[in-house]
Symmetry: C2
Amino acid sequence: MSGLLFVLSGPSGVGKSTIRKEVMKICQGLRYSVSCTTRSPRANEVEGVDYYFVDLATFEAMRDQGEFVEWAKVHGNYYGTPRRPLEAWWQEGFDVILEIDVQGAKQVKAVFPQGIFVFIAPPSLRILEERLRGRHSDLEDDILLRMTNAHLEMQSIRDYNYLVVNDVLEKAVDQFRAIIVAERCRIRE
Amino acid sequence: MSGLLFVLSGPSGVGKSTIRKEVMKICQGLRYSVSCTTRSPRANEVEGVDYYFVDLATFEAMRDQGEFVEWAKVHGNYYGTPRRPLEAWWQEGFDVILEIDVQGAKQVKAVFPQGIFVFIAPPSLRILEERLRGRHSDLEDDILLRMTNAHLEMQSIRDYNYLVVNDVLEKAVDQFRAIIVAERCRIRE
């Protein structure tokens, strides 16, 4: 692998997408790996930009043909990271950002142990719950499920290389950008 | 050690001081370890800010009392890093920057293997020589000695954690700052 792999993970609702999008505006040479999912698009989510929205049969066919670096069932929906775009981008000299749940990040680490794993954490679980409720797109059961998972996911922080606490957005964006700039300067064995 | 230790090193004339000073203007929570030296002050160098300028007898007394983390004879002059300020700053929650030659950095690594070692390199040795001549403060013999050492020092890059090429100053400053911000986010064992 010639380019770098940045894996952005953390609990649902923590602000991974927002941080990633802001960093891609101010940092060159990055490509974002768009995941496939069987869940329905939220308002303002765009096909091919936020996700590839596929039906269950399509997802299962891709999975069975080994086209995913990782895949997982999260909150009742399937998510997967297509392998081919990553390899193409590295060939072209880009660094790649994945944005995935904690379960998926573990699988990616097994395949790409040299990846750079960044955990985005909320300032507190109480604030995470407020943010999830503020999104107004999830049912009460969904929110409770996400909170239960968040509690478990926070225990995986030690498996990551970096921790960014998303308290003030500008600071979190600066920190993720700094991680990218620094890792590009890192001397590897 | 509670705070971090950033060791900035690289060939003489590469711009270590300039980069360090610019980063300290835009990055909070840092303290710069002022070295002791037996060499004479250059124009615009200030006692206690750039160096503690001491005579040989004083330097040898401090060295013999174990007051240096590292010391070295470089280009015929002695340089040493006092130990006590580092420990005081870490206690107070600051991160510390050392700015030392490659020989001194090796000694520091032996004492503080958990330090973060940053090598500042010139875009090329030819450009380094132009910069040394542009400084107008060194004799021809000094310049030749520094160039010979630079050639050797470049072979130590693999012992460092990060490489910053000082081509465009703003870029080098941004990279060193990013290394500090990122290392503060790093999850340690």
